[in-house]
């Protein structure tokens, strides 16, 4: 296990707490912004954890999440624009 990558992953997970507060307490637009922020951070967390535990197969997950972030984010945004 690589300590630096693990520590960075934990620190980045802690950095999602302010965005979680925004999602819980902010208006709808701010909540979508917080969601996009957390998704971006999670891509990095998955890559850091895969590197920290030296599992090459886990590097598929950040790639998948980065692709799904685009589609999912656009779905959220369009739903907010049209229906919410």
């Amino acid at each position: 296990m690589v300590f630096g990558f693990t520590a960075a992953a934990i620190a980045m997970l802690a950095c999602t707490i302010p965005a979680g507060i925004v999602i819980a307490r902010g208006d709808l637009g701010s909540a979508v912004v917080g969601y996009e922020f957390i998704t971006s951070v999670m891509v990095m967390v998955l890559a850091l954890l895969a590197q920290a535990f030296q599992r090459p197969s886990l590097f598929e997950l950040p790639v998948l999440l980065a692709i799904l972030m685009f589609g999912g984010g656009l779905v959220f945004v369009r739903a907010m624009e049209r229906w919410l």
């Binding site: 980045m12 922020f37 895969a50 590197q51 980065a66």
Partner: protein
């Protein structure tokens, strides 16, 4: 040893950027200002993480997949930011174009072509002036 120090420095920079961006998202006033702080976390910090993996592992499969994730994030980030800002503006003003609210108000006050405006007899200004989402917009 040098590789570990370099990767740790890069990771520390990435964490610092994400930390600052998270507080920016928390402390800014409205969604437009908050959205500016997503970009450092979605673009700059992943570059630093990919560089840290590259320094640690060299040119291997792990580095390639991290760079692939970075590539997708770099592609998706600007589109998502633009779409988010457009959606927030449509929710607030009824249309994303500048001056569209004034045009809608003018057509609501005196419809020239005889067609009823989409928002009916709704007030033309103030917080209640925005039409319901999905109503009265051109695409």
């Amino acid at each position: 040893m040098v590789r570990e120090v370099c990767s740790d420095v890069l990771l520390g920079l990435a964490v610092a950027i994400v930390l600052g961006a998270s507080f920016g998202v928390l402390l800014m006033r409205d969604a437009y200002q908050k959205l500016h702080f997503v970009t450092p976390a979605a673009l700059v910090a992943p570059v630093l993480v990919a560089l840290a993996v590259l320094v640690q592992m060299g040119l291997q499969e792990n580095t390639g997949e991290t760079c692939l994730a970075l590539f997708f994030m770099a592609i998706a980030g600007p589109y998502l930011s633009h779409a988010t800002m457009r959606a927030i503006r449509v929710r607030e003003k009824g249309d994303w174009r500048p001056g569209a609210g004034r045009r809608a108000a003018a057509s609501g006050a005196a419809p020239a072509s005889g067609a009823a405006p989409a928002s009916g007899a709704a007030p033309a200004s103030g917080a209640g002036a925005a039409p319901a989402p999905g109503e009265g917009r051109e695409r």
